[in-house]
Amino acid sequence: MMNEVWIWAEQRGGRLLGISLELLNKGLELSNELKAELAAILIGDRAQNLAQELIAYGAGKIYLIEDPKLKLYQSDIYARIMAGLIEQHKPQILLLGGTAIGMDLAPRVAAKVKTGLTAHCVDLYIEEINNNPCLVAVVPGFGGNLMVKIVCPQQRPQMATVKPGVMEMPSRNEKRAGQIMKVEAQIKDEEFKCQTIEMVEQEPTGVPLEESAVVVAGGWGLNSAGGFKLVEELAEVLGGAVAGTRPAVDAGWISEEQMLGSSGKTISPRLLISIGASGQMHFTTGFLKSKVIVAINNNPKSPIFEVCDIGLVGDLRKIVPCLVEDISSRAPRTHRRADFSSSIPASR
């Protein structure tokens, strides 16, 4: 067995997805701990330049498979190639991004090589189990209420799909060196039980409130700002949805469908920012399960400050514009980071 940690570097339309780089970073961490080499599998058409990028981001070796027929994701061929490489080189670990395509490819490969696969990991680390260094995967279960730890003690490689947007990005270094191993695809037409014939790109239409990862909710306090403009601006830079309280509906700033609380909607986004709402129970009950809650209000005694993680006491007319500026001034990335930073929300 090769002492290698592998990641699958997904590309679409000739660009590396952000998750591919996040996997590299995590892969680096794991391979350092295992004193192993980090390699990436890259499949596509004319992807040499992407291979170079992967090396710059830390991959020591790239298994590069190029073929015009593989420009779009082809499940049968991609899986066959990946399984073939695994059988040949027997890596310890293989990580894939939990994208719509990664989630399609990983289980097929795992079944081909008869190994264990853990889905949607939010954390990965090495732990000694029976004197063996094993990969521990942490995954959210039951709608995120529980975190479960999963291991694959015997079969190899230990496979996992990783939730995009959770792991850190690696740093880029032009000077890094690495090997590019070209692998012939050797495609036979009979292999295609399924064949992707077309990719149709669509700009995402408005994400429903319940599925939005970020929600900015406003209350009556926005009256001082003359309306919801600040809420909408903040939501825009965060790529989130707009919601609010009953008074906000009555004032005509939002529609009934955007109301949160016991007579409105209940949501559990990754981030909920409450602006200008005092935080009465029948409002906050609509979002108590959010991962992170931020509250902005000028009254330090407001009940909203009892249910938030971060509270900002002060004038929202001054605070929100500062937030908008700080957030939109993030350092730009060299590669377009796919901002579907939660994978396609699990259909309900």
Partner: protein, 384 residues
Amino acid sequence: MDFGLSREQEMLRKTVREFAENELRPREAEFSQPEGEWPYDVWNRIAELGLIGLAVPKEYGGSGMGHLARMVAIEEISRVYPGWGAHLRGFGLVPYLLLNHGTEEQKKKYIPRLVKGEIQGSLANTEATGGSDMIGIETTAKLDGDHYIINGRKVMISRSTVSDVFAVTARTGERDRDISAILIEANTPGFQRGRVENLIAHSRTSPVGEFTMTDCRVPVANRVGAEHRGLGVILGAINGAGRTGGAGICLGIAQAAVEIGTKYAKERHLYGKPLTDLQSILFWIGEMERHVVRARWLCYHAAWLLDQGKRPEEIRAEIAMAKLDASEAALHNCLKAIEIHGAYGTATEFGLIRKFKAALDMIAAAGSNNISRLIMSGATVEKY
């Protein structure tokens, strides 16, 4: 004693609840609008799910699941929107009437179409002289060859603007009790729909109104049951399918109220604690549950007895007690839930006032509570 619902009844409850939650709840505001067309699309969905014909045998287009199944369906719909539960109840009376007293021709002519929701039928007994006072009616049906000539005015008729056929009570003889039940179609010349009442729970979905019949010629073949024996025919329907249906509506209201009240009490904090920590409110919650659970057993038992083949007259006390009890449970639970909500209790967004209005309507509807008292008390005197 096996108190469990059958697997079929459980699955039916599940499907009706899902229908009510997904297709009725989002449209509550729309249904409650005062004016507008009657929502035929909802009735068609109810027909599609087979809910109209639950107590109708397969040979006439129903599923034959029975009266308990029907009560469960009415309860589940009323838990979300009592107005639709009232329709499921009300539109089931004419089929019931025909099943028990109709000729084969009448059954075949009307029941399948009623069950499919293609046409609707209403019972029309009440007049200005009263509803419970059935002998006091003044509508007449004079025999003319093989036709009746009907003259009269019926009031407070639910769904008067929607139904296509009405089973009316009319005097066909000299004596006080010479009353017959006759089917009259709304397109009969001389049949005229009148004004709609402004009842407290009125909405486009629940029209209650009057109609007049002026020299309406109706074939004698439209009479249901023997001549001059209409009281028994109509009362059978009112007691059997009517009162049990009314009980189902009240059960649904009572159930909704305990759910709404309890959820609110768990979430709302006062003095730094949830309301459920205050013993007085905690006890109200337990009492609400006790009321609806008790009422439910009375009601299910009555419906079960019907399914065992008992005639409504045989079990009139059980049916009367069930409706009365469920009605009181609905009123009690709505009031308590409103109190739990404090000042918000009368706010429209919590839906309690709408449920309470429906509960108020149900005091007199579906066989009034005082008639229930009359029946159950008379039966008790006989019994001991």
